[in-house]
Amino acid sequence: MTVDAANLHEGDELPALELTPTIAQAVRYCAINWVFPEFFFDPDFAKSVGMPGTMVPGPLKLGLIYRAIDEWLGGAGFIRQVRAAHRRPDLAKHPIVIAGRVARVYDEAGKRRADLEMAVINEDGQPSVRGFAVVEFK
């Protein structure tokens, strides 16, 4: 499915992307960066430093927001910018929902663009990440 840029309006919602990040996913993220903070993959270590479990790496959540936008675009455009402001940690093996809505549709540099407000919502219904993105349509 591809989003229709001509019929896009402020307030339109992106389909919610429901995910449950895993420890294996966190380990893969650590591996591509070759950085291995133990609280991302070792539950005992995470508990020893006061966390209830292993955390989902923040930059991984930026990538998941990118994914939600990319799946919504369906090839109709490209993501010029995506930003994540991290408000509270998310734990591995706990479900999250990535939600978004169109904040503004406009023309710039001869291209149709849209600003998107994004959020990662945890299982308690709290936003763990506030996000923002700019997409440009073909």
């Binding site: 996913q25 893969r28 991984l60 930026l62 990118y66 930003r83 991290h86």
Partner: protein
């Protein structure tokens, strides 16, 4: 060199008054330093750029990045075809970015961002440059005194054109000064 804890302002004065007034001084006030932790030496790091070297976008790298975010390696791409922007998170230039100075005991990611002029292409070599864009002090908030570090990484084509930028804001703080601990 004195530690951050050694440079707390007027601690003995405040604590003695606290006993007189029977009002405990919150830790987040006690731990505001007398002098800025941002010395001239530290401030001089701002704007310094480090070339991390070239990194080439291979199909293997794209697939590994896709596996992280999608749980599967995704489709194949032809040489020269645009690949997803998130591949910049998996690039492996020749050297690591310089470590940030550690001025307070704990660090946490505040925000991060990717921006693209265009998506990278399979087979393309990008030259990666990292810089410490800004350091700022914050007074107040949960930890009383904290430092924000903003780092930026540029990904340029071999002709110098900017392809993408990633930026990260990290906060350094002292957890022992948290308001919630009062």
């Amino acid at each position: 060199m004195s530690s951050a804890a050694d440079r707390t302002f007027g601690a003995s004065y405040l604590l003695s008054h606290a006993r007189i007034e029977r009002h405990p001084i919150p830790a987040y006030i006690r731990l505001v330093p007398d002098e800025s932790l941002l010395t001239d030496e530290i401030r001089a790091l701002v704007g310094h750029r480090t070339e991390l070297g070239p990194a080439t976008i291979t199909l293997r790298l794209v697939q590994r990045a896709t596996e992280v975010f999608y749980g599967h390696p995704g489709r194949d791409y032809a040489q020269g075809e645009e690949v997803p922007g998130y591949v910049i998170s998996a690039l492996d230039p020749e050297i690591d970015p310089p470590e940030m100075p550690k001025l307070l005991p704990q660090g946490i990611l505040i925000s991060n961002e990717w921006a693209f002029e265009r998506y990278p292409r399979l087979g393309e070599t990008l030259v990666v440059t990292s810089s410490l864009a800004n350091i700022s002090e914050r007074f107040g908030g949960q930890f009383g005194y904290s430092l924000d570090f903003r780092t930026e990484t540029e990904y340029r084509a071999t002709n110098g054109d900017l392809v993408a930028t990633s930026s990260t804001n990290m906060m350094q703080y002292d957890a022992s000064a948290a308001r919630s601990s009062e």
